[in-house]
């Protein structure tokens, strides 16, 4: 982390960048939050550790409009999102100084809590220089150690790899933390009966409080004004919260980002209700891969997205019925 701070200081002082986009410590040991640092001395609050799950690429949309360059810290998986934003002309590559930060898997404090860890005072084992095999919590009930992987975010179990897709320099080491099949959960649902599927999604989605956290954090949901907030798709003026979009929100949102979603997993990470929202996006990704060939959004900045492409021989929609 110190190496990162030193470099940030250098860049700020040399004037090469006007600000640094990273994380600062939160009020608890495990909730750092995204932050801008405009002066070298502010960097004392800068943190980067296993709890810095937030994908900062979306912040670059606004940062691209600011004067001067922004140094932005991107983990390997965040760089896919950044590439996708370049492709959609939403960020300015020239306005970003990308420091590819090392990542050995990010943590989900909810998982720790589920393991019975309460009253956390501090955490060790999640720093950049750590091996990230074991995580040790100092709690008011004493010290507790758990396997790092047991507290990892879902998305890190299906890690896309330790390579940064776009960067100016790389600081810190990364580790491929993949230990699960990316589409295993989707396949599990696909194997259910229609009744089970419906019951599953209805029970999950019924938890939704429409707080918009998923949409706000999603780097693909980068519209200046979301369709859910405009009157473009309503025959009357926006009536009330009971409107059509409210009910179909997650399906529509997933469709809007289909072929553009990099599967960064932020939606599920931030959902206060713990809804596994990534299961919608991942279903689209799985279908796209199966129907139209492997496609990873954000791997490049110039390929044609699956929904803006076609071949004469594409499968017919009846495939859905035919495959049973």
């Amino acid at each position: 982390m110190q190496e990162l701070i030193n470099r940030a200081k250098e860049l700020l002082e040399s004037g090469e960048v006007a600000r640094v986009l990273g994380w600062k410590a939160g009020d608890l040991p495990y909730n750092p939050e995204p932050a801008y640092f405009e002066k070298a001395e502010d960097l004392k609050d800068f943190v980067y550790n296993g709890f810095c799950g937030a994908n900062l690429s979306k912040y670059m949309i606004e940062a691209s409009k600011l004067e001067g360059k922004t140094m932005v810290c991107l983990k390997p998986c965040d760089t896919y999102s950044f590439n996708q934003l370049i492709k959609e002309h939403r960020v300015d590559r020239e306005k970003a100084y990308i420091v590819g930060v090392g990542c050995k898997g990010k943590l989900d404090i909810e998982k720790a809590k589920k393991l019975g860890i309460k009253g956390i005072e501090s955490v060790s084992g999640a720093e950049m220089t750590d091996d990230c095999d074991t995580l040790t919590f100092q709690t008011i009930y004493g010290e507790k150690s758990v396997a790092y992987a047991d507290v990892m975010l879902e998305r890190c179990h299906v890690c896309k790899g330790k390579e940064h897709q776009v960067y100016d320099e790389i600081i810190g080491e990364s580790k491929d933390t993949k230990d699960a099949e990316r589409f295993a959960e989707v396949e599990k649902i696909e194997a259910m009966s229609p009744e089970e599927k419906f019951a599953y999604f209805q029970s999950e989605l019924s938890k939704c409080i429409r707080c918009n956290a998923c949409r706000n954090v999603c780097p693909a949901c980068s519209c200046r004004k979301c369709v859910f907030d405009s009157t473009k798709f309503d025959s009357a003026q926006k009536a009330n919260v009971d409107s059509f979009e409210e009910k179909m929100f997650h399906v529509i949102r997933a469709f809007h980002v289909a072929g553009r979603c990099t599967d960064c997993g932020e939606c599920s990470r931030v959902c206060p209700q713990g809804i596994p929202l990534h299961l919608f996006n991942r279903k689209f990704i799985k279908d796209i891969n199966e129907f139209y060939g492997e496609y990873q959004a954000g791997e490049d900045t110039d390929s044609r997205a699956p929904l803006t492409n076609y071949t004469f021989e594409d499968v017919e929609p009846s495939i859905v019925t035919e495959r049973g």
Binding site: L205, S206, V251, I252, L307, P317, I319
Partner: protein, 147 residues
């Protein structure tokens, strides 16, 4: 037909038809007096690629029991490529609806040319029959709220 077997249930069926092929095919079905149930109501769109998945979800949310999209045969699109995009969009949408447990027979895409009045009528008869067998759509009304 199943109308006799289930008299109370009159499904609401929305058919989106592209102006150049399928709408003309429906016209031909009409001028050839090829009957299909009155449950089918056609909305004219310039091209199948004009149909936003939102329209289909909207129809279901408003009480439709089935939605069918008809366009020119692949390769014959008046706008060259429209139905290719429609095909991908609908494939993914239908797959998603299937994934969340909506009976996949409630949605259908059929390519009907301006000369295929017979096919149009047959398709609509089949589709209505299918919807009858599935019964009223209760699932897509509101996914988010448990009854």
């Amino acid at each position: 037909m199943s109308i006799e077997t289930n008299e109370e249930f009159r499904p609401k069926i929305v058919a989106f038809c592209c102006n150049w092929c399928s709408y003309a095919g429906a016209d031909l079905a009409g001028s050839s007096r090829l009957a299909y149930p009155a449950d089918v109501k056609i909305i004219r769109v310039p091209c199948s690629c004009r149909v936003n998945p939102m329209f289909i979800l909207r129809a279901f949310e408003k009480g439709a029991d089935g939605v069918i999209l008809c366009g020119c045969h692949p390769g014959d699109c008046h706008y060259s490529t429209g139905n290719f995009y429609a095909r991908r969009r609908m494939t993914l949408l239908f797959s998603m609806l299937d994934y969340i447990g909506v009976e996949n027979g409630r949605t259908r895409v059929e390519w009907v040319s301006a000369a295929e009045g017979v096919k149009f009528s047959q398709t609509m008869n089949e589709f209505v029959e299918k919807i009858h067998s599935l019964g009223k759509n209760v699932r897509l009304g509101d996914l988010r709220c448990k009854n």
